[in-house]
Symmetry: C2
Subunit: 590 residues, 2 copies
Amino acid sequence: MKLQPKNKKMLLQAALGTIPSDMVLTNGKVVNVFTGEVLNADVYIYDGFISHVEYDQVGKDLKANKIVDVKGQYVIPGLIDAHVHIESSMMTPRNFAKAVIPHGTTTVITDPHEIANVWGVEGVRYMHEDSENLPMRQLIDIPSCVPAVPGKENAGADFLAKEIAELAGLERVIGLAEVMDFLAVIYGEDRMMEILKVAEDHGLYLQGHAPFVTGRMLSAYLCGGPRTDHESRDTKETETKYRYGMNIDMRDSSLCKNVPEIMAAMKNYRYYDTLCLCTDDRESDDLLNEGHINEVIRVAIKNGMDPIDAIKCSTINTAREIRMDHLGAIAPGYVADIVVLDDLTEMKPSQVYYGGQLVAEDGHLVVEIEELVLPLETRNSIHVKELTVDDFRLQAPIDSGMVKVNVMCFDDLYSSATKVMVEELPVKDGYLDLSNDSDLKFVAVVNRYDKDNIALHVVRGFGSDHGAVASTVSHDSHNLTVVYDTAVNALVAANRLKEVGGGMCAVEDGQILHTLELPIGGLLSPKPVEELSKDAACMKEANRKLGLREMENPMMRIVTLALPVIPEAKMSDLGLINVFTKEMIPLYVD
Amino acid sequence: MKLQPKNKKMLLQAALGTIPSDMVLTNGKVVNVFTGEVLNADVYIYDGFISHVEYDQVGKDLKANKIVDVKGQYVIPGLIDAHVHIESSMMTPRNFAKAVIPHGTTTVITDPHEIANVWGVEGVRYMHEDSENLPMRQLIDIPSCVPAVPGKENAGADFLAKEIAELAGLERVIGLAEVMDFLAVIYGEDRMMEILKVAEDHGLYLQGHAPFVTGRMLSAYLCGGPRTDHESRDTKETETKYRYGMNIDMRDSSLCKNVPEIMAAMKNYRYYDTLCLCTDDRESDDLLNEGHINEVIRVAIKNGMDPIDAIKCSTINTAREIRMDHLGAIAPGYVADIVVLDDLTEMKPSQVYYGGQLVAEDGHLVVEIEELVLPLETRNSIHVKELTVDDFRLQAPIDSGMVKVNVMCFDDLYSSATKVMVEELPVKDGYLDLSNDSDLKFVAVVNRYDKDNIALHVVRGFGSDHGAVASTVSHDSHNLTVVYDTAVNALVAANRLKEVGGGMCAVEDGQILHTLELPIGGLLSPKPVEELSKDAACMKEANRKLGLREMENPMMRIVTLALPVIPEAKMSDLGLINVFTKEMIPLYVD
């Protein structure tokens, strides 16, 4: 995608001043991301582009139809999120736009990975269509790993090179999204090599994802093609990646707060060219109450980053990362995405301009976003067989006594990393009995794509002490996942989610505490951010009631339980998987 | 053009160490252009690419077929010249390669603008063909302004959008070269708009050229598309361009020494992301005796630049400017263009690797470059009509007395800037007589493309005090240009150049002092750098004998006399042109 004026000749005339520009922002302090200066300047806008920036004769001879006095405030480029899954906000692209624009975000690079796992190519097309004609720019990277671990899980789609090629034709598609099956890259698996090749052939940039990968493994990953990463979690990892020329997309998501560790590495470096900011996954209440990229900037500043550097990292650096010219700076020929604010550390926009149009003021959207109901938004996506209590009971190889079980154990209450530990567990009447240990729970992953399979296992350290929590938001295949004490509670929760077309649900003693309805693909709500936040708050409260009190966000605990790319073991609808070897781990030890 | 390994899967294996790399450079200090660090590391090379960089276990477990101990020397990326006209060296691309590789240059972005003005599309194809399979990378930008000033001069070719589109298909073509007709851009002339559009449509980057352009004019130029510039001459100009987001290609050519002024501006800036180095025009003896980009780095360091910054500016920054991935860094997945040297300020390479192959050592090429004689190299390009003494005599509108003449006056002996001054000059026997003022000379521009026109004028401050100097190197149309006292001397010089197929010639009292033969397109010699330098030294000496003593390079004085883009007035084969208005200036004032 290229950012080009509708009529270049007219833009040239506006630049020269032979015709008036549409508007000029006068009396502002421009943050110049090329020089690092903050300078008084007039910023002229014509046809959505910056036609001229006057640094010398400021405030004089203003050749514009509209003069906006920004009264000494800062004028910075519109903010860019280097990597975000809009689905994580549980909002539609249009409602997401409403939520982030007032925070100064004018461009996001989004990976519609979640909805692609549910609806395939159609899902990506939906995200593209729903984000058309918005007062912000939602650029799309094509999901590269659908499903996350081919052959070991069933998602709603399977993306091969053919699907990538098809989607590369969409107007706002610019990259191949986070290539998270890093082992497939490193070991040169055919399927992945073909996907990378077709993406490169179509001129897409390759976004990476390589958590904990360093040394020769990282060298191989980079030789494979992807050159960015938003998964740096510690200082040493950041150091290696940055030295290897990997762009660091510094993440501050609702769950992963990586800024302090990354900044600890970055402080030693001379150059910040290849550092960008991203949110990855941000929930509706965080977007509403804390902010978006402006919040990441605040966090970066708190961790020692200079505000000018932080602005550069979240504007021109990101534009370069995604190979997009004319984006990310206050300079002639650049798109007029502009944020006006009075404090560079508070980062609260008083005005946001997108393509030269005022779109938000003092935290509020000031343009209409058309309401749409696209066909996919009313189509059911939860195709689960008729369920019974027996589907959720775990039969043992013996009738009573003790059996050795491969238990999936969370490392702690905050991260989604796990280990597999062998435990001896009691059997009662031919079924596994966990009732004596409230830290142990059953887990069921129910295929929701018209296949009958249900995988059952045992989990320790999940965090709930009773009841059932269920979710159709369950990265990345988004099968219906339930963590529960009794089969009855599980059945109530699962059936409720079938009934409402997906979402999240908490059940206690057979009673539904709360349901967060996400009928669009079982992932998204049609509600805007204010309503959805309230709904989510109720959902969290219900989860806390079931024991999920420690983690900052109890609602999200379940959603990475079936994500078989986070070490060391995760569930799928086929069972428990060793993330490193991609081998299935049996429930019972022989 | 994309830099890709022949077999990615094998490269991945070499990265992992499951197969040995071809080579490892051990015991080196790597200059890391991402972090700005200098770190001990082992650099592994496989199939022309860097397969792995080991920063932790340095010197241990070296998995490579060949181990090269660089004995504590620095290991830096191969140097890149952001903008050069190979023709200015008067060497063929192959001989140019021989001259620059030992200096550590592994990539140049070349603009075959001169030969394009002579031979058109065929000329560009010749430069492309002659630079195939070299132990360096000659990337080509398509000349954008052939001729420099359409309609006001006759060159050997005329490039419209069609020619640009045709040449965009060549393998090593990556950009549109310096768009020097900046007025055509700024005022949105159709011909130029079409050229820019076709270049953008073909994915070419747009290289700029905007001497003295600032303010709204510069805004318009940038809105037009080009985003780089190597013409910054003073600090204020640099400041505006850099603030406007224009990449500065800091030039140190044989003629233009812009580093001090540019560095005076750059010292105030926080970021050096968009600063690159270039040579633009470097003659054979400078290449032989001083160096190439390594010399520009030395000059930059002398002017206050940190050596690490200078290396970054001449490697990864340039790779980014030209949108070339996998180039310009010592990092996994990058091409193995590497320079080994023991001092970062002396910048004398002890070893140069191109695509992992050792190509130069201690200042000498260590690989064979195949000798070629391509068809164009033996074809005559000087198509000038039969000349007589009368062709060079300047008829006056009166028979005797004084006439008012628009004289083209050089500002000084060092720059090619000129003014037009009206002078009263004597007429004798119906012809203009300059014999009483040795600072005045006749100038003739003789069309050499089968057209009969010859333009005659008067020049002041050229620098010669007697005799004739002539050249078919005469930017940009390269018509046969002669500056002379008597018509006889002019005729001898012109006929000599016709006879040898072009070049440069100095004549005194009807006798040839020296001829520098440039039979390839009247621009290039088939000789290698050592021989050509000697030849050029004789040419300079001959020019000095004619009075051209003050300027550093007397040979180059004539070559920009007919370049109607350098203000304020220049010659073409049609007469004297006002560079700003593009109007013809009559010889005689009414």
